[in-house]
């Protein structure tokens, strides 16, 4: 049923199925298998490999490439190639994001992480994202909130993680299911790498996508495969929300993205074009 709130202009007719709502509410994540077609996946992989073979100072501005000891980070890829803009607006992923944040998603940061094989670190830690200001236990962080009411979900910070390389079992993204609703402070004795850890990992095929609340306790397990882990992280927040991350859209490079992408990255009250189009299609 469509719900109208004239003072805020929100249409929150949910784009999620009842099963998706139940699952996300229970676990704090959803896994979309084959979210990206093989053709699109190949294009994204080729672009990333091209950039990784490039020198940082030859990257298309404002895209940045930083090589790290065990990998690399590429920031703002949608400003360097429209394939990443299309990925940020990809309907199967956008539908879920819309359903989690009242049809008002705003892309506020995008990056690609590359992880190389490295020895296991038994002390690898997990965390909850706090967007720069960590709230004391017992308080709900408004920067990273989760609520459910009246058959709807409000999750104002959501991370869409798209695998561009296969992820074998027991490595890569790890999280503690259900911890987005934890009301008791996590003890320091809970470790990601312990044999009895409550953290789980996700064997993925390239093209799969995990959509998760960063209010989940989560982390990254050391990469043990011969091939690199390559993941796009697109982080979205509720678009009515104040702009606590002033990075996007990058005004000085507005000409590198489409008007629709500029709108998707902007704080705004109105229903965005990509959202409107998808709502109409649904």
């Amino acid at each position: 049923m469509e719900m109208e709130y004239p003072h805020s202009g929100i249409r929150i007719d949910s784009t999620l199925t009842e099963q998706e709502k139940w699952y996300f509410d229970l676990h704090g994540f959803l896994v979309l298998r084959q979210a990206v077609s093989p053709e699109v996946l190949k294009e994204l992989q080729d672009i990333v490999h091209g950039w990784l073979g490039s020198k940082p100072d030859l990257m298309p501005i404002p895209v940045t490439l930083n090589h790290l000891e065990h990998g690399a980070v590429i920031q703002h890829p949608q400003y360097g190639h429209s394939a990443f803009e299309r990925l940020a607006q990809h309907p199967p992923i956008l539908r879920i994001l819309m359903g989690l944040m009242w049809n008002r998603p705003r892309l506020f940061i995008s990056g690609i992480q590359v992880q190389k094989k490295r020895p296991a670190d038994r002390d690898a830690v997990m965390h909850k994202d706090h967007s720069g200001f960590e709230f004391p236990p017992g308080f709900r962080n408004p920067h990273n909130d989760y609520q459910a009411s009246g058959g709807k979900i409000y999750c104002n910070f959501v991370n869409a993680s798209i695998a561009l390389a296969d992820v074998p079992p027991n490595m890569g993204f790890a999280c503690v299911p259900g911890s987005h609703k934890s009301e008791v402070k996590c003890p320091s004795t809970i470790k990601m790498m312990d044999d009895d850890s409550p953290a789980i990992t996700f064997p993925l095929n390239a093209g799969d996508c995990i959509i998760f609340s960063p209010n989940l306790i989560h982390g990254t397990k050391p990469w043990g495969a011969d091939h690199d882990r390559i993941t796009v992280f697109n982080r979205y927040q509720f678009s009515f929300y104040f702009n606590e991350n002033s990075g996007y859209p990058i005004e000085t490079h507005r000409d590198k993205i489409s008007e629709e992408q500029y709108e998707l990255e902007s704080v705004g009250v109105e229903e965005k074009s990509v959202v409107h189009r998808l709502l109409e299609a649904l």
């Binding site: 099963q19 139940w22 236990p137 017992g138 459910a148």
Partner: protein, 274 residues
């Protein structure tokens, strides 16, 4: 009474396990007694009320109120670890209102998932709240395994479903895998505590020897019983078969449960000394 790890885990999952909470000799004695009762029931022997049995084909064989007829089962109701956890989940006021044991075999049907949030208002008798890092769970199930339960069989639940905000899908069964359905392997003497609002069930038994489990249900002792209809303990006519502390554990709390309070204080001292 609960450690930080236990509180965090129970809040996260809606269940927790205490390993080796019951002494081996008590487990063996209860198992032996269960077989005696089972044979007696098969031979048509009548039980002394309030002990009674129930069995329908392909379902578990159940025997109720066993602690009125056997001191080892009665000792189980005031087991220190069981009381410690139930006290920690009920603001120190547990009331025992059901004790029942079952015996099942490979021929017994699985126990389908049941419990869980169905939408709308929340049932106050199965309440779950957290405040100031403390949990209040007004209804707790306790399952004490009398046999080793291998992975793949036995208790399952949907972790976190005690806090679900949406109706569970009907198509998820006891045989789904993690993370949605968790199967908990247990050794004899292990105890599983779970909120009944955590959707739960049991997979079909896989072993040649029968599975035997004692279930105890606790509610907050200051609240009304959802089904206070005379079929639940304490059974006044048979109260002399219980210790004063167990009899009081079965009562609503009006501040009169001194023998139980003394027992709890004694257990706390032993725990501190231990």
């Amino acid at each position: 009474m609960l450690t930080q790890e236990e509180r965090w885990y129970f809040d996260l999952k809606g269940y927790m396990v205490v390993r080796q909470a019951v002494p081996d000799e008590d487990v063996r004695a209860m198992r032996k007694q269960m077989e005696i009762w089972f044979e007696a029931d098969r031979n048509g022997v009548a039980f002394h009320p309030p002990v009674r049995t129930n069995h329908t084909p392909n379902k578990p064989w159940w025997i109720y109120n066993v602690h009125y007829d056997n001191e080892v089962f009665q000792r189980l109701t005031i087991n220190r670890e069981i009381l410690r956890v139930t006290r920690g989940l009920t603001m120190n006021k547990p009331r025992l209102y059901d004790v029942v044991a079952n015996r099942l075999t490979k021929e017994t049907d699985e126990i389908e998932l049941h419990g869980g949030f169905t939408g709308g208002f929340r049932e106050p008798h199965v309440g779950y709240q957290v405040a100031n890092e403390e949990i209040f769970c007004s209804f707790i199930n306790v399952a004490i395994s009398l046999v080793d339960v291998p992975a793949g069989a036995g208790f399952v639940c949907i972790p976190g479903s005690h806090k679900s905000n949406f109706q569970y899908p009907e198509d998820i069964t006891v045989n789904h895998g993690p993370p949605t359905v968790a199967n908990i392997a247990a050794a004899a003497g292990d105890v599983i505590f779970f909120a009944p609002i955590t959707r739960h069930g049991a997979r079909r038994w896989t072993e040649d020897d029968p599975r035997m489990t004692v279930f105890m249900r606790f509610i907050h002792a200051a609240q009304f019983h959802a089904q206070d209809d005379g079929h639940w303990p304490p059974f006044e006519k048979q109260k002399t078969r219980l210790s004063q502390a167990v009899y009081q554990l079965e009562q609503r709390d009006h501040g009169q449960r001194q023998a139980l309070y003394d027992l709890m204080a004694q257990q706390d001292e032993q725990k501190g000394a231990g």
